[in-house]
Structures are given as structure tokens and as C-alpha cells.
């Protein structure tokens, strides 16, 4: 769908607006009432393999969208393309009402599209607190011309430190704030990465398997955090394999198989879709069962 059907970026109250998404027909590429991200004709091939081949995708604002699909479906590649970490062969997309031209990861991040990685990228030799502080946007002290003059950035640093402290508190990492991030457990690093991403004041947060390797108790609390984020108005897209997580926290599910979107819909519908079951389990079994 071309860009001109984009609704104006509106600031309607985020809470309680879970409803409109339920009016969207559960078909691949379905238009959404208030999309934050609109993708068209996006493709990426590795050699002969078409890793991503998306005709049309809209991500609704203020909603938790789960991106699921069998291994090798192209979920992470799609993330990489959208966030500028990989170059698309064809395609265009717009984010927050603005067409994305010549995407670069840092530019997109500054516009509020913040991602995390499947293999956690905690900065091992920085403290937990510094990891989170790094996420803070528009830091005066990050300019070389201001860096040597502490008075020019210490107030902002102070405010950021307080905010970081709150985030660490929220993710149960406050007691480790001065430890090096490399000493954290795998699950704690996942939490740290989410905290760091939130520090960046994202408009859209894209989580690549945030629960993988996190113990069930931590995963439960992370799921709580994600629901709360959406409630606060943040748009969340996450890749996940565990179905109980998908059904637990997502409002909408997009199913990817062999690079294409094969189904979309609310979680209880999408994961029972016959096409989806085929994609996960293989057509032969589905045929044999019918």
C-alpha cells in the first residue's frame, strides 16, 4: 500500500487502544488503523536463497506484535533490514510517518527505532550502569567539543544516572550497577540489554528473542515488563519461539515462513491457522492428518 494512506501521526491516548487492532482482518499484509511502521516489497537474497520477501506489512502503534516462524524463516534478517544492519535488495518502508531513505542503524536508532540482539551485546568491560547510560539519547557529553568540560554535561549525566537507576531497579539489576556487565549471567544480560534499549526513549522497540536463555522466573518478569511498556504507549515487536510467551503477551502475531508473511492475526487465531501449522510441521504431516 503506498505511503499516502498513512494516517497522520496521532497522539491518541495509548492505553485502552488495544481494541482497534481487533477490527483488523487476520490476513497477511492487512492494513492497520494507526501503523507506526509500513513496509513494502522488501526483499533480501543470500545467493539463491530468498531470505526475506515481504509484500506488505504494517505494524500497529502502541501494540505488542510477535514475529514468529520456523527456524530460517527470515525473522532476524527482517529485523536487520528494518533497523539498517543489513541492506535490502529491494523495498521501501516508512517509520513514524517518515520514509526511510538510505537506512543506517545509528540514524534509525536516533529516530526511535531501537533493537536488541539475539546474541546479547552487553558491553562486557563497561559497568552495568555505564551500559544503560550509553543508551541515553542526545547526550551533550558525547560530543568531543564538550567532553573535557564536565560542567557542560554533568547535570544531564546526573539526570540520566537517576533514570538509569530506576530502570535497573525495575529489572532487578540495581544491586549490580557498579559490576562489569561481563560478570552478569546470560539472563541478566538480556534484561540489561532491554533496560539499555529503554534508556534510549524508543518509539519502537524490537526485541530479538528476548526470552531465549532466560530462566522461567526472569522470563515471567520480563514478560510483565513488556506488557507494561505497551501499556505505557510503546510499540513492541519481538521475535519469539515459545508459544506460551507469544500467546501470553502479544496483541498481534505475524507469521513468517521462507521469508514471506503467511499469516497475521490475533494470537489465538494466528497460531491455529492451518497455513501456520503446515509451515511449522511440514505439509506432509498436515496432509496425512486431514
Amino acid at each position: 500500500m503506498p505511503d499516502d494512506v498513512m494516517p497522520p501521526p496521532e497522539s491518541a491516548s495509548a492505553e485502552a487502544e488495544i481494541e482497534p487492532i481487533l477490527t483488523v482482518p487476520p490476513v497477511p499484509g492487512a492494513p492497520k488503523p494507526n501503523p507506526l511502521l509500513v513496509v513494502d516489497d522488501l526483499s533480501r537474497s543470500f545467493g539463491g536463497l530468498r531470505a526475506v520477501d515481504v509484500d506488505h506489512l504494517e505494524v500497529e502503534r502502541g501494540v505488542v506484535t510477535a514475529l514468529i516462524g520456523p527456524n530460517g524463516a527470515g525473522k532476524t534478517t527482517l529485523f536487520n533490514l528494518l533497523t539498517g544492519f543489513d541492506r535490502a535488495d529491494t523495498g521501501r518502508w516508512s517509520f513514524n510517518g517518515e520514509a526511510v531513505v538510505a537506512p543506517s542503524p545509528d540514524q534509525l536508532a536516533r529516530k526511535g527505532m531501537i533493537r536488541t540482539f539475539q546474541l546479547t551485546k552487553s558491553l562486557a568491560k563497561l559497568t552495568v550502569l555505564d551500559n544503560v547510560l550509553l543508551g541515553a539519547p542526545r547526550q551533550v557529553g558525547e560530543r568531543l567539543s564538550a567532553a573535557p568540560f564536565r560542567s557542560r554535561w554533568q547535570d544531564q549525566e546526573q539526570a540520566n544516572t537517576e533514570k538509569a537507576g530506576e530502570l535497573l531497579e525495575r529489572f532487578n539489576l540495581a544491586h549490580m550497577r557498579d559490576d562489569l556487565a561481563g560478570t552478569l549471567s546470560g539472563g541478566q544480560r538480556k534484561l540489561l540489554e532491554v533496560a539499555r534499549a529503554l534508556m534510549a526513549d524508543p518509539v519502537l522497540i524490537m526485541l530479538d528473542e528476548p526470552m531465549a536463555g532466560v530462566n522461567p522466573a526472569l522470563a515471567q518478569s520480563l514478560m510483565g515488563h513488556i506488557t507494561r511498556l505497551a501499556f505505557e504507549g510503546l510499540t513492541v515487536v519481538f521475535i519469539e519461539h515459545a508459544m506460551e510467551v507469544v500467546t501470553g503477551i502479544s496483541d498481534w502475531v505475524v507469521v513468517l515462513a521462507q521469508g514471506q508473511i503467511i499469516a497475521e492475526g490475533p494470537p489465538w487465531k494466528a497460531i491455529h491457522d492451518e497455513v501456520v501449522i503446515d509451515a511449522y510441521l511440514g505439509r506432509r504431516r498436515a496432509e496425512a492428518g486431514s
Binding site: 533493537r115 540482539f117 551485546k121 550509553l134 547526550q139 558525547e142 567532553a147 573535557p148
Partner: protein, 335 residues
């Protein structure tokens, strides 16, 4: 065997101009490698341009020494920019290869016979550094000596090392100020994982370029001091081992620390000179078999460098974080 002389020689080397030059080279490298993770194997190229920029400006073009100093530093910046633009987007290993090659290309070009008219080519270049020594506050008569016992300097040497160590202190302070800031935090995040830095909105290329320029200029200052100290420059003084000596000093003192590269440079020269003086004294001992004495005499320099290399190996095995480094930080690499 006179240990007073050995110690005096070692101490002189540890605090002399050579240590100043090495300290500056290592501080620059610390900005590149220690804080930003840029594997620069061509640090000597920055020293070379600092030294030749100064020398050629004065000797060939007849400009004032101070103009020469500025030219030397500007050339270091130019090298950083010229190296950075095509290579900073490449993988770290590619960057390392390009830097070592670039430094060698410059040295060979400057030392070629075709360059005699401009740089003196293989004949080296020399100039009058009088403008610098005119400011010397230390009386410099033929009998003026500063220091105790065998650890003493002439007035001219005193002037060079005073300026040199003050420069080292200032540069260290500036590096401390800029790195212990949010700017420095971005550098370290790039060292740890540049994709993470990108994903948080940091323009990695721009930060790497800034670090490359700053570290390069600091190296260039080392070259300027070298030119003033020797009143000239010789292409043979800028072989790749200078970069490796700077790495040795940096790792010895502790990479990514503020005082490490300075301490490392002092220790490097102390050790190297102590061993060399010791061997020289040893080869003169009467009880030594002639064959051994013959082998030793003349080879002291080579052996002492080899010993420094051995020290580095032992250091990597038993104290990989260097003298002032943080052990737990180092061990995180193994995870």
C-alpha cells in the same frame, strides 16, 4: 662490574627524550587500541610525519621551527583522515594491515633517492633547532650537569626532557578528561561491540575517526620531539618496530589506563638500557671465555631488545592486564 654505571645509564634512558617519545607514541596508541579498539599497527607513521614535517619545513623550506611543528602535527591529522576514510569501515584486521602498510609506504617514499631534494632521502635531513634551545633556561656550559652520580643530563638535554615530560603530562590530562566522559564511554562501547553502539544511535565511524585523529596527533607530537632532539630525521628511525615498542610499553603499563602508557614507556627504556649496559659490562669481564665475550660485544643492543620481548611474553602469561591494569576486566575476555 659497576652497577652504579649500569643503573645510571638505565635511569637516564628511562627519563630521557627517547622515553618521552615512546610515551607519546604509546599514549596515542592507547587512544586507538586501548580505548577504541582500533588495531593500529602503523603508529610509527604518525611519528614519522611529525618528525619529517618539522625537519623538512625548516631544512628544505626555510620556515621557522614553530611553523614546522604545526606542519608536522597537521600532517599527522592528514594521515589519520586519509587512513580512516577508506579503512575504518573495514574489519579490524584489515585496518591493522592497511596501517602497517601505509606507515611503511611513507617511510620508503621519504627515504628513496628520488626524494633527496625534498626530504634528504636515505641521507636523512638535519636542521637548526636553535629556536628551541634559545628558550633553554638551564645554563648549558661544558661543565654544567644536572642530576646525581651517574644519573645526569646536560643543560640541553634537561630542556628537551623538561618540555617533553610537561607535554606528556598535559597530553595525559587531556586524554583523561575526554575519555572519562560520555564521549569516552562511546569509544569504549565501540571497542566492546560496535554494533551495540550503532543500535543505540552512535555514529561509530565518526567516533573512530575522532579517536584516530587524536591518537595520531599525539604520536605526531612524539615525532616532533624526536626531530627537535636530534635536529633532524632519518628514515631508518621509523621502522615498524617503533610501533611494536609502543605496543610493548602500552601493554607493559596497562592498556586502557591513563598512566599505564607513561609508566610502560619509562620501564621499557629502563629495562632495555639496564640489560644492554649490564651485557656491555659483562663482556668486559676477564673471567669470561673469549668466545662468549666476542659474541656479546656488539650484540648487547640486539640481546636487550630480545630480552624486552621475553619480558612481554612473560607479562602476557602472568599479568596480561599490565602493571596498572584491572585483572577482572582482562579475564572477561575469556568468557
Amino acid at each position: 662490574m659497576d652497577f652504579d654505571i649500569i643503573f645510571g645509564n638505565a635511569a637516564r634512558a628511562a627519563f630521557g627524550p627517547e622515553a618521552v617519545i615512546l610515551a607519546l607514541a604509546a599514549i596515542g596508541l592507547n587512544v586507538h587500541f586501548g580505548f577504541t579498539g582500533l588495531l593500529n599497527f602503523g603508529q610509527v607513521g604518525f611519528l614519522l610525519l611529525g618528525a619529517y614535517g618539522t625537519s623538512v619545513s625548516v631544512a628544505t623550506f626555510g620556515w621557522s621551527l614553530w611553523v614546522g611543528v604545526v606542519v608536522g602535527l597537521v600532517l599527522s591529522v592528514a594521515l589519520a583522515v586519509a587512513l580512516g576514510f577508506p579503512t575504518l569501515r573495514l574489519h579490524a584486521v584489515m585496518f591493522a594491515i592497511v596501517t602497517i602498510a601505509a606507515a611503511e609506504i611513507i617511510r620508503i617514499l621519504i627515504g628513496s633517492t628520488d626524494a633527496i631534494g625534498l626530504t634528504g632521502g636515505p641521507l636523512s635531513v638535519s636542521f637548526d633547532a636553535g629556536a628551541f634551545y634559545d628558550l633553554n633556561p638551564y645554563p648549558d656550559g661544558p661543565h654544567d650537569r644536572y642530576g646525581v652520580g651517574t644519573f645526569e643530563f646536560t643543560g640541553q638535554q634537561m630542556w628537551v626532557i623538561t618540555v617533553g615530560w610537561v607535554l606528556v603530562a598535559l597530553v595525559s590530562l587531556v586524554v583523561y578528561l575526554i575519555v572519562s566522559s560520555p564521549w569516552g564511554r562511546v569509544l569504549k562501547s565501540i571497542r566492546e561491540d560496535q554494533d551495540a553502539a550503532r543500535s543505540l544511535g552512535k555514529n561509530v565511524f565518526s567516533y573512530k575517526m575522532q579517536a584516530l585523529v587524536i591518537g595520531g596527533v599525539i604520536g605526531g607530537m612524539g615525532g616532533v620531539i624526536d626531530a627537535i632532539k636530534t635536529s633532524g630525521a632519518d628514515p631508518n628511525g621509523f621502522r615498524p618496530q617503533v610501533t611494536f615498542f609502543a605496543y610493548t610499553a602500552l601493554l607493559l603499563g596497562g592498556a586502557a589506563t591513563y598512566f599505564g602508557p607513561v609508566l610502560g614507556a619509562i620501564l621499557f627504556w629502563f629495562l632495555r638500557e639496564w640489560i644492554e649496559s649490564f651485557l656491555r659490562q659483562l663482556s668486559a669481564e676477564a673471567w669470561l671465555p673469549d668466545a662468549v665475550a666476542d659474541f656479546l660485544s656488539g650484540a648487547e643492543g640486539v640481546i636487550s631488545v630480545a630480552m624486552v620481548g621475553l619480558t612481554l611474553v612473560l607479562l602476557m602469561l602472568f599479568r596480561p592486564q599490565g602493571i596498572t591494569g584491572n585483572r577482572t576486566e582482562m579475564q572477561l575476555d575469556a568468557r
